[in-house]
Subunit: 130 residues, 6 copies
């Protein structure tokens, strides 16, 4: 049985409260599908949104950097929804096409050298811990 | 049969040339273990170094951002050597402990929501492609 | 060249024998696509079905627990077919929507803390092995 | 620079508060290394503990089932710390050796059939969404 | 904003040069979509093609073996595009259906036993390094 | 509680039977640690060995090719035990150092381009299915 997205009109008050906060925070008219599916478990919806608000707030890293890291992880894991969603979010936060190209080049290379390090069974240099 | 690292003193000229370039570029006295194991395949050693030089050079993204993305991928993939190595490289490039903490928080959260999106089988919003 | 599914009507006797056993075991009228593609390699079809019968039989863990674990792995790996297939199987075995929501919450959290443990390079506590 | 674990004696009040809650909840004398490293980022420490308390509480799924799912994900991802830690937690919650053996068999098989489904490019059966 | 593929007719000279080399090398009339998207970052397009030419050239391993390894990795990672693309490339290089079936069986089994080794926390035998 | 390896001398008859078959097949004096840990679940031990015997037997692919594919998957997944074990097995089956270097280069590159294909959201070319 495939779940259906829960639109604002059909949402319980506790879900609407989260939708309102997301829309207010992001200055958007409707939440995206991720939230509409997560709404099937209101506890998870709320906890996920609250965590994301904290984690993605500007801090020592700025928002566009955080969005690009999010995209890098999503590309590494191959989550199609997440790649589409976070590419859009990163562009909205200020990622240019040049930044995007460089980001993917780093992600590709890191995934390559991670396996070279695995395959050659490279021992950790003591110097890394000084 | 476990491979042994190839030190400069025992390296063929083509390998020494790459080691020299790495040391010159990074202003270090000796290359790390990753390169000493890759040296078993001089073609791979050279190609990997040349690619890394291009990809990690300052551009639309600055070096500390590139190193943090490299670390984010390594943490996602769980490569122990790479995590140690790129944590050191990122700190050397300017990543503070506050930046490191925020980076890991984003990486953790992204790995979580990637699976929530998978599990809820969320369809891609048309708006992401406008 | 894309392979086509092998339907019962077109299947060799050795494949039909496996299809019959699957249909009998699961009380279904037709096997799902996974088996119809695996049928291109009858040895793999047979070995996979025999292994699954053994592994998924009720034992110290009951069938719905086993199906939920199967779904947890599929969600972690991001296999779209497997998530659809095993969500259906888990529901058929008794997984309610409340169980499903809690399952995904655990899967998401585990994928997050796995990376936090990686990133912080946490050493294994001796107490875990007592 | 390798981070060091933060023991209770050296912890700031906000960190001690979390340690106290963990120790109280789990009826243990000292928190494990995961928390002692996470303590370098008190916001992440607190948020992770609060999320885990909610997610791992008994609900539609009981605690031993949740711990086994956590272990299944950790085994799939290959996180050595997490496998050690969650094997211990699952045993403490009631997982017998027979349950453990069956759990690993399911995890192994799921990781296998996930790739068979990928490799044979199996299309999702419409029946899964009815 | 979804990127569009860059066709030869719309490509800058530096991109056309790479397309020409790919078409000449592979004896094909048009490059596939992978290259048409990579073309958004001409440096990555060029570096990727040059690396692939070197890595996939006949050597101690022949081309069909290299293509099958490429497919094995793509199946393990679940990259849908890559599985389709490299299945075609491997067949073109000489992979028969029998070889394909055996390849997937090995890939599935390896993904299974990798997790059994993780879950049972098997220590490395000293004999492996003699 | 960490499991201990089960040596032949302490093994139940059903386990010894599998150990004997492994030792006979591989012409070795003692089984490696993987089997000694799997022996905690004799059903899994037996099923895994029987499957491996079938899957790894010479066929359309020869043994060294199968071992190299096994190693490629293990390197991709980062299983330390499996990389050590299957590097040894591949060398024993005939993999030279030159073959090993080329294998790792392909594995690294495939892991890189898999992510580039993900990140650029490349659609599958119709031509791949003709």
């Amino acid at each position: 049985m495939a779940l259906q997205p829960i639109d604002y009109a059909d949402a319980a008050p506790e879900v609407r409260a989260v939708y309102d906060d997301i829309k207010q925070s992001r200055q958007i008219k409707d939440v995206n599908n991720f939230w509409k599916y997560l709404a099937h478990d209101p506890a998870t919806l709320k906890r996920t949104w609250e965590s994301l608000k904290d984690i993605m707030a500007p801090g020592a890293l700025d928002p566009v950097t955080k969005e690009m890291v999010y995209l890098a992880v999503s590309v590494t894991n191959g989550c199609g929804y997440c790649i589409a969603s976070h590419s859009a979010a990163a562009r909205k936060a200020g990622m240019s096409e040049a930044m995007f190209g460089e980001l993917l080049a780093v992600v590709g290379m890191a995934n390559e050298t991670n396996r070279l390090a695995n395959g050659y069974r490279v021992p950790i240099d003591p110097a890394f811990d000084k």
